[in-house]
Symmetry: C3
Subunit: 353 residues, 3 copies
C-alpha cells in the first residue's frame, strides 16, 4: 500500500489531467454556514423572493462560496503540500449553481517551472467544475509554489502560455436572469449601473476581525485540506510560526465588506486576476477598498451592466488611511505589508429602468 501524502513538484507532468475526488452536493447548511462565516448580506443568496423576482426558481449559491467548494476539490491533488497559493487568473462563473446540485472538479497542468533554488517550483493548472448534468459551471487558472520531494530531481518543465484575460466575457452568460425585474428595495440601495464612474474609489468603512475558528471552519467547509491552515503544531516551526489563513477567505470577506456601497452588484461573473500579496493570520482585521476600473454593457446580461472592480484586501488599517498600495524596492514593485489581496473582477449590476 502506498500512502497518499499529496504531490510534489516531481509529480506534475505537462498537460497531465487530474479527475479530482469527492463530489459534493451543496446543501442549505453550506449556504447558511457560509453566510454566518463571512457576514454576507447579498439578498440574492438568502431570499427566495429576491431570486424569484429576477426569474430564478431558487436562490443561486453565492459565487464565491461556489468557487471555494469547487477549489476545495482540487487541493488534495494540486496544493496539499503547497508553500503558497500564488495567484489566480481567468475565473469564469459560467452558470448559476443551486442547493441540491452536486459538483466535481478536474484540472489540467498547463505549466511547470523549477525555481532557481532547486528546492521548489511553480505549477500552473486550469481547473474546471461541472454539475451533475456535466454542465461546466466554473473554470479558473491558478498557480502554486510546490516543494520538490528531492532537490536533485530533474523536472520536466512546461512554460505556461500568457494567462488570458476574460474581458470579452463571451463564455459567461446569465440568459436565465431578468435583471430588469430586480427590486432595489431588497438591498436598500438605489445605486445602479449608471451611478458608478470609471476611476471612482470606494473606501468601505466596515472591518472584520478573523479568529482561528472562523477561517478553519470556512476552509473545512470547502473540504480544502491544505495542512498549513489547520496544523498549528507543524506551523510553529515555519517562518509564519502559526496557522496561515486560506487566501480565499479574504476574497470572501472583501466581497462581503464591499456590500456597503455596492449593494446591487448582485453576482460575480469573472475574475481577471487575483494575488494574495501578504499572508493573514488570526487576529487580523480586514478592510477593503474598491476602484471601478471599467464599466460596460454586454448582451449576455440583459437589464444589467458590468462593473470591473479592482478590490484590495487590507489588514489592520482602515481603507481610507492607505496611501500607497505598492512601493519600489530595488527596482521591483512590492506591496505595502498591509495589502493582503489585490483582485480584479467583474460584477453584474442592474441598470436603471
Amino acid at each position: 500500500m502506498s500512502q497518499h501524502q499529496g504531490n510534489f513538484l516531481e509529480d506534475f507532468s505537462p498537460n497531465q489531467v487530474f479527475q479530482h475526488a469527492i463530489p459534493r452536493t451543496i446543501s442549505d447548511g453550506d449556504v447558511s454556514l457560509y453566510l454566518a462565516l463571512v457576514g454576507n448580506r447579498n439578498p440574492l443568496h438568502c431570499s427566495i423572493i429576491t431570486a424569484n423576482n429576477i426569474g430564478l426558481s431558487a436562490a443561486p449559491v453565492d459565487d464565491i462560496l461556489l468557487f471555494h467548494v469547487a477549489f476545495g476539490r482540487t487541493v488534495n491533488d494540486i496544493s496539499l503540500n503547497a508553500v503558497a497559493n500564488l495567484g489566480y487568473a481567468n475565473i469564469q462563473f459560467k452558470r448559476n449553481a443551486y442547493v441540491g446540485d452536486t459538483i466535481r472538479s478536474e484540472s489540467q497542468v498547463i505549466g511547470v517551472k523549477e525555481n532557481s533554488n532547486k528546492s521548489t517550483g511553480v505549477v500552473y493548472v486550469r481547473s474546471t467544475t461541472f454539475n451533475q448534468d456535466n454542465e461546466e459551471i466554473l473554470s479558473w487558472i491558478r498557480w502554486v509554489m510546490v516543494p520538490k520531494r528531492n532537490n536533485d530531481s530533474k523536472i520536466n518543465e512546461l512554460i505556461p502560455n500568457d494567462l488570458p484575460e476574460i474581458s470579452d466575457l463571451s463564455e459567461i452568460h446569465r440568459h436565465d436572469v431578468s435583471y430588469a425585474d430586480f427590486n432595489p428595495i431588497d438591498t436598500g440601495s438605489d445605486l445602479l449601473f449608471e451611478d458608478y464612474d470609471i476611476g471612482q474609489v470606494i473606501n468601505h468603512s466596515s472591518g472584520m476581525t478573523i479568529d482561528e475558528t472562523d477561517h478553519t471552519l470556512a476552509t473545512k467547509l470547502y473540504q480544502n485540506n491544505a495542512k498549513l491552515h489547520f496544523d498549528a503544531h507543524m506551523m510553529k516551526s515555519t517562518p509564519f510560526k502559526r496557522r496561515l489563513i486560506y487566501g480565499g477567505h479574504i476574497i470572501s470577506l472583501c466581497r462581503s465588506l464591499s456590500f456597503e456601497s455596492l449593494e446591487n452588484a448582485l453576482q460575480v461573473v469573472g475574475v481577471n486576476s487575483g494575488v494574495h500579496s501578504n499572508p493573514t493570520f488570526a487576529g487580523d482585521t480586514i478592510y477593503t477598498r474598491t476602484e471601478i476600473i471599467d464599466k460596460f454593457e454586454h448582451d449576455n446580461f440583459s437589464g444589467a451592466g458590468i462593473l470591473r472592480l479592482r478590490q484590495l484586501g487590507i489588514k489592520n488599517t482602515p481603507s481610507a488611511l492607505i496611501e500607497n498600495i505598492t512601493s519600489e524596492k530595488n527596482g521591483k514593485k512590492i506591496y505595502d505589508p498591509s495589502i493582503v489581496l489585490d483582485i480584479d473582477y467583474f460584477v453584474v449590476i442592474p441598470k436603471r429602468k
Copy 2:
C-alpha cells in the same frame, strides 16, 4: 454616488418609516447553526415529532432566533453606528414562523431625543416583521444611543409615549397549537404550569463561556452588521478596548441555560422589557436566574398557561451566589457589574391534563 455608512442622530425624523432591506428566507441551516451556537435543547425546535404532537406540521423556528433575524434587518438603518442598544419593550411574537418562510422588517421612528452632551442622542423605533404572505409575525420597540454627525446640528425631537406593556397578550395567539397534546417525555421534565409559583426563584446551574467566534458567528448569521461586534481594530481605541458582544446573544444564552428547570416553557410569546445592563466580552461565562413574577391563563393559548418571568443574565458568577442585583449610588439604582441582562418576558407552558 453617495456612500452608505449608516444613519446618525440627524438622520432620524419623527414618525419616519424605514422599509428595511434584505428579505431573508429562513433555512434548516440557520436553525441548526443557531442550535449549535446557543446550546438550545428545546425539542419543539429540533424535533418534528414534538411539533406534530401539538398539531404543527413542522417545527416552528425558535422565537429568539426569529427575533434576532428580524432585528438584524433593522440594524443597517437604525443602529449601524449605535453606541449602545439601550433596551427593548413590547416584543410581541404574533405568529409562528417556519423553515422556508421569507421575512422582512420595517420600522417607524417613535422618539428622538438629544442627550445633554450634544454629541449623542436616543432614537426609539417600533419595528414590525412580516412573512411572505404579509402576515405580521413579530413586532417590538427598541431604543438605541446614536452619535450625532455634528455636535452643532439641531435635532428635531419627538418625546416618545410611555412604552406600553403587553400583559393582556391580546394581539398574540397560538390558536393553531394544541398544547394539551404535548408529551412531557420529549423534554424529560414533568414540571408543568401548575408546578410554578409566583415569587419562586430558580438559580439555573449551567454556565456557558463565550468565545469570539461564538458571538461573531451568531451575529453574522442574523446579518446584524453593527461594527462594534466585528471590528477589533476599531474597538481598540474605544473604552471597551475590544469587540462588544451583541446583547441579543445573551438573551439567547439565558433562554437556553434556563431550559434546566423550565423545560416545558415551550415558547416565548412576548417580552415586556429588556435591558442590557452591562457589556459582555469574549471570555465571559454567562449564568442565569429566573424569577416567576406572574402566572395566568389566557384564551389565546388553549391547554397551556402563561408564566411571566424576570430573567437575569449574569457574568462570571454562578447565579446562586448573586446577592444584590442592584444597589443605590448617589440616589440612583445601578446594576451590580455582574448583571448583564434584565429581561421580563412571557412563556407558554402546557397545563397538567
Copy 3:
C-alpha cells in the same frame, strides 16, 4: 418544584431504564456543520451521487455524527455531572440514518460500582437509539465516573458482566448497500479491501488544531450539555483549570484525519472499545495512527470486506514520532501523555471487482 441538576451516583439503580428526552430530527444543517467542524471528506456523506451509486436514495448521516447526536440524548440523565467519560464498548451501527429522521435514545443501567475513595463511583449503561419508525439504529455501552451527592450514602451496587466484543457483527448489516457498485473515483484512492494487511501501521500525516469554539460548537450541536465542556469559570477551580474537550470530538477528528490512506473505508459499523486515555484542551493539535488489526469478509456486507482498526488519537506529536504508546509504571500499564484516544473499530471497505 424540584430543580433538575443531573444525577449523582446515588440516583442510579441496577437495571433502571431511562427514556431520554429531546427527540432530534437530523437536518441538512447538522450534516453541513459537522463536516465543517471535523473536516470530513468522506464523499458518502456529502455527495448524493456517491450514495446513489451504491444503491442508496440519499446520503446517509455520518456514523460518528449519528453516534454523537444519539449520545447527546443520554447526557442529561447519565453524565451531566460526570467527572470523566471512561470508555465505550460494543457500539453497533445497526442501520443507516438519513436527513429527516428523528431519533431518540434510551439507556439501561448495567453496572454501578462505588470507588474506594467513597466520593465517586462508576456507572455502566447500555444505550439504544431508535428512529421515528422505532427501528433500532444504534446501541452502545459506556461507563462514566460520577460523583456521589453525599460521601456517606450507601450505594446499591451491580457488578457489570464482562463487556461483550462484537467481532461476529451478527446484528449489524448493510443489505441495502451494494458496495460492489462503489466508484473509487469518488474518493480518489484505489486502495480497496485487498490492499490492506493485518499488522500494517499507517501514520496519517495531517494534524488538526482544536480551538475553543470548534469543540464547544460541536458539543452543543449534539445537545450534549455536560458542564465541563462549556463553563470555563467553573473549570478554573478544577485540576484541569480550563474547559475539557468532549472526548467524542477526538473520535471525529481521528476518523476524519485518517481519510488519508483509508479513503475507501466508507462506513464505521461497530466499535469494540474506546478509551479517552488523556484529556485534550483547546490549542492541542491532534494527529492519528491506524493499525490494521484484522480483516475479514462478512455476509452482511456484500461486495465489501471489514477492516478492524486500532486507531490512536495523539496530541501535539506527529504520529510517526510516537515510539511507545504505553509504558509500565509500578507494574501498571499507563498511556504516554500524548495518547488521548485508543479505539478499536470496524469499517466497511469495498472489494476489488
